[in-house]
Symmetry: C2
């Protein structure tokens, strides 16, 4: 039987179902022989065989003309895996027939997600263009650009001079692009979009599982992992489900291993946080250097240079930690000795997700919620290690830093991923062909030898693919208020991703063992969690990071509109939002006042540098906004989730009808019986 | 067959399953005859028969001694429906055997809820006693009781005089009972309790449905309601499930009727809100009257008298509206012409719940979140209709009003319900026996004639029972921060309720037609909704209604502890929390200052009667508390819900084992086949 698997040509494996049956038989053979395991896995582990895989269908020949002669693989290549097909629906039934339901479901989900990104990208683009077109009319940036006589307090202690406020004119304009009324709307829109996406995916899934005959299918009892059996063969207990004795992991052993694993994860996560912190310190140190740089372009734009360099370093650290962590997660998961293969996969997936999520997002969280918040005020700055002054934000807010960080990480990560996904296997395949001095075009070889030259499908199965998409979903929703172009970037990436994956599956990887699945597993729960997190972070970004609330408060309470009606409600906002500092207090021989971003009493007031009433007023408004936004959006989300049934009405009717007919037959049988 | 149902003695109906079969056969007979319906329902509607019901088992004879002779009904009476059994578990299997799964599940749920109330009641009692024992040490009430020289501004315009602050000493003490640190803890505890209750109920339910063999059971296609068929017999369409033609309600007709029904509900709800508003106005009007009352006791305690009278009037209005609404809901539901009986029930239940929930809770919401909030300040009061000054809270806060309102409504409602549930059928049964001049003890009569004298089970089925319990669940969770004794009241009520219901089902009602159900239906979703609402309301009650946050802010920022360490951090809090008003501004010949509850600038400040910095500071703290509380509690809730699996492990194993064995057999059959 074993050699049969490897040698038999594609006729036997021409459809996934039959190869699945063989797979089951194999599994069961292995199982029923009890301790003295035999079977293909054993033989592979022994080294008797090097690999076992279902061969691909015949190689793709470009000169096929007659459609009736084309095999499934060829059809998949022509109709699915080519760039020219990018705007077309995927041939899901064919994918399922060739690769099995699990992979079919992945591509269905990916296609669905990509399709749903289109409206999000369009609306995001509209919001961006709205910002672009109204940019010049923005009162705030006009005031900043006109303020040639307003001097900002120096941003660093030694080499920084007083800057004119209108020096940051360009930042003010860019900030307006991402910090205008449209942002609030877009944040709400994306929260609802995420819900609609997940709810309609449930419907899509139910249609697919019905069409693919998976409605009543249930996972079989899995066999144990060989590593688990080898480790724990001394302790046995009766499996409550199969009723047969099997190796058993003692509880204390399990807990110990779990604890080690969890502390490993925490160690790595603290490493990430340390790295973020290191980048922060780097920025503080380098800030002074850039500000005293000889090259005047950098000297002038030292703030931007610092940010950009910081982001790039950050990205390199992120990618390095990712690579290192993957190995550690693999070791830790093996250390846990999971019972079955799917437990192994879930444990590994959760580890990878947790870490990568923290790794990718922690620097963004830092910039969104911590940067520029604890700086103190001129004359009494808070210092890190009593040495470095903490970084401040631009006069027009921290949002531009956030935006830069998001954009760069997302863009670079997608390029990197696409390279790793396609470039890496291409190079490896080229290398292995080169090594064995045999061209892939060699039609005289049997199919399995041609396939032998291909890469085996990654050990993590579909996990890597899902993980990448889920992290991307996080980027498109969690901080979407700061970067409305995220859905567009994601959409462009996914259009490429689908065809890349398709190409990879059809031509670069050995044909994977087909498997069944009725849903996308733990990823659905993670997506829902991200959807909830997104509402919270967006509320906080709008309320705390952006200047939307201070502007609103000014407009309705402190500005010219508070007393009488006028069209320029924000007139004087910039002046109002900057506090005064008496330069003579520094004792460096300068006199006069400089300004800084905060709501503190001026030096001549009764309580100099204490928070003013307006500060507390704005704080209350910010918090009230968070409460209102969250309750509103969560309310709408739940209502939409409640409104959209998980199964479309006609499918529901069809399933009911089938059940009804069965009941009907049973009744008739019963009546006859009587 | 029809007469057989009525005449055949209890032998046939000795267990619920068999009577269910007969019921099904009846239903199907009716169905299959198509348009020319015949069957028992038709005959009853015609008036050919007066009623059809499964008869009870033999009457209860108190002199049965030999247990083997006792029938199910007698056993139920002895082991379940007597007061003496109040501390015992219910014989659920027996209830199920006698009344069917649907009623069995109701009692299982009620018993589970009652059991879960025990820890809540104990913790609530502890919180109450904690308040009681630390009451005398409370700094706030000590300061209020000692403040003989502080005069409060008059609470009404004409007849109220300046009151000394220490006049409200007793209110301050009572307020402390319900407004101390324990309250915050208890609110969090109850939110978690609600989650644990619902999560463990899912486990309990899964055990019951497994034991009662309902795991694979599915609801059959229901037949149409006769009213529906009679109304729409002209328009036919093919039912997609049964594939047979049936009357059909046109979409436009459906929408019209739904709109009428919805506006009916909105009308009634606006009636409720009007009633609440009327009580508010009544309180404003009567306040002045009570304050000038001749009887000095009332004159002294006019505030309490106003509140108490207001609450009682409120309760009477609530009960009257409930009675009126029930009829209206019945009419509206019939007007909608629901297709099937269960659609009718769901529509009616939702209507009843929505209305009763609003009716019971709107006055409490008013007191919690609106009372005393929009009064303005002395010299510039906001007036209703430019005539009546809005009501203010006591110097120690509005929480005492909320507490009074909750306590009275809950207590009176429970007494009323228990009377209606038992007293009413008792009287009716007595009356019907009296009318036909035949004692229930008449053993010579056949069982069905004895049962004929009993009340038919309410048309709403179990809906009334569930509704009452769900509303009570709302009381025990939604405002539990204001009234920690609510779970205790609920527990006491439910201990009585179980035995009352049992007694009613066993002796006072005709035996209901047994029905199957796998869960408690829409009520579960409503309970979950209440659990979520409870977290939000409790956060707002603690943050906004109680004085917990102002005390905290004073303690850490404005009080003596802000600068140096001392044990009496709240020293001076009362004085700090009261603003000054210059009496000479009233122009009634008085001079000096009176005090009022607010944080406004004193008359001698630069901005008299404007909100102070402390006001905005406290507001920010209140809002921050809401955010922290909600995120924390919802986080814990979700985590607990995630941790507790819906099916206990051993039951899960057992179900898997059964499926495994089936798969095993199928494989063997398949192998043999090969």
């Amino acid at each position: 039987l074993n050699s049969f698997i490897i040698n038999n040509k594609d006729t036997f494996f021409s459809n996934a179902t039959r190869s699945r049956i063989v797979y089951h038989v194999l599994q069961r053979t292995k199982y029923e022989n009890g301790i003295s395991k035999v079977g293909i896995c054993k033989l592979i582990n022994n080294g008797a065989y090097e690999a076992a895989f279902p061969p691909h269908e015949e190689r793709i020949l470009r000169n096929y003309q007659n459609i009736s002669n084309k095999n499934n693989r060829h059809l998949l290549y022509e109709r699915w895996a080519r760039w020219g097909m990018w705007y077309k629906h995927q041939p899901l039934d064919l994918i399922r027939r060739y690769f099995g339901e699990k992979i079919g479901l992945y591509f269905a989900w990916l296609g669905w997600y990509t399709g749903m990104l289109i409206p999000a990208a369009i609306v995001g683009l509209c919001v961006f263009f709205y910002g672009l077109f109204t940019m010049n009319g923005s009162q705030v940036s006009q005031e900043i650009c006109a303020a040639a006589e307003v001097f900002m307090c120096p941003l660093c202690d030694k080499n920084c001079s007083l800057q004119r406020l209108n020096d940051s004119c360009i930042y003010a304009k860019v900030t307006y692009l991402f910090d205008n009324g449209g942002t609030v709307f877009f944040a709400i829109f994306m929260a609802i979009w995420a819900t609609v996406f997940l709810e309609f995916w449930k419907r899509r899934r139910s249609i697919l599982t019905y069409a693919w005959d998976l409605i009543e299918w249930e996972e079989e009892e899995e066999t144990l992992r060989p590593q688990f059996e080898a480790k724990y063969y001394t302790v046995e207990r009766v499996n409550p489900i199969t009723g047969k004795p099997e190796p058993h992991q003692p509880f204390s052993d399990k807990i110990t291993r779990l604890l080690i694993s969890v502390s490993g994860i925490f160690f790595m996560i603290s490493l990430v946080i340390t790295a973020v912190f290191a980048v922060v310190v780097y920025r503080l140190v380098v800030m002074e250097q850039f500000a005293s740089f000889k090259w005047s372009f950098i000297k002038q734009h030292w703030q931007f240079a610092t940010s950009a360099a910081g982001v790039c370093i950050n990205f390199v650290i992120i990618m390095m930690l990712n690579v290192a962590y993957e190995k550690i997660a693999y070791l830790l998961t093996n250390l846990e000795y999971p019972r079955t293969e799917s437990e192994w996969e879930n444990s590994f997936a959760l580890k990878m997700f947790l870490f990568q999520f923290v790794n990718l997002n922690s620097s963004i969280f830092y910039i969104a919620f911590f940067l520029g918040r604890f700086v103190g005020h001129p004359g009494n700055y808070n210092k890190l290690f009593n040495r470095w002054r903490l970084e401040e934000c631009h006069p027009s807010g921290c949002l531009i830093d956030l935006c830069l960080q998001m954009g760069v990480i997302m863009f670079l990560k997608q390029i990197w991923n696409n390279f790793m996904e396609l470039g890496y296997p291409l190079i490896q395949n080229w290398w292995s062909r080169h090594k064995i001095k045999r061209g892939i075009q060699d039609a005289s070889l049997p199919q399995w030898e041609n396939d032998w030259n291909l890469q085996p499908m990654n050990i993590h199965g579909l996990m890597d693919e899902y993980l990448e998409m889920v992290l991307q979903f996080g980027f498109t929703t969690i901080f979407v208020a700061a970067f409305p172009l995220a859905p567009l970037l994601a959409l462009l990436n996914n259009i490429i991703e689908i065809r890349l994956d398709a190409y990879k599956f059809v031509t670069q990887w050995r044909r994977p063992l087909p498997a069944r699945a009725t849903d996308i597993g733990i990823w659905y729960g993670i997506l829902e969690g991200i959807g909830i997190l997104a509402v919270i972070t967006n509320a906080f970004v709008i309320a705390i990071t952006s200047d939307y609330i201070p502007r609103l408060v000014y407009e309705y309470k402190y500005g010219p509109c508070a007393d009488r009606f006028t069209y320029i409600c924000l007139k004087g906002y910039v002046n109002n939002s900057l506090s005064f500092f008496d330069l003579s207090e520094l004792g460096i021989g300068k006199s006069g006042y400089c300004r800084y971003r905060d709501y503190r009493g001026p030096p001549w007031s009764s309580k100099p540098y204490e928070f003013t009433l307006q500060y507390w007023h704005i704080l209350a408004a910010r918090l009230a906004f968070i409460i209102v936004f969250e309750h509103l959006v969560f309310g709408i989300k739940s209502f939409i989730a409640f409104l959209i049934p998980d199964v479309p009405q006609d499918l529901y009717d069809r399933i009911r009808r089938e059940k009804y007919l069965v009941q009907e037959m049973m009744y008739e049988a019963e009546l006859e019986h009587l």
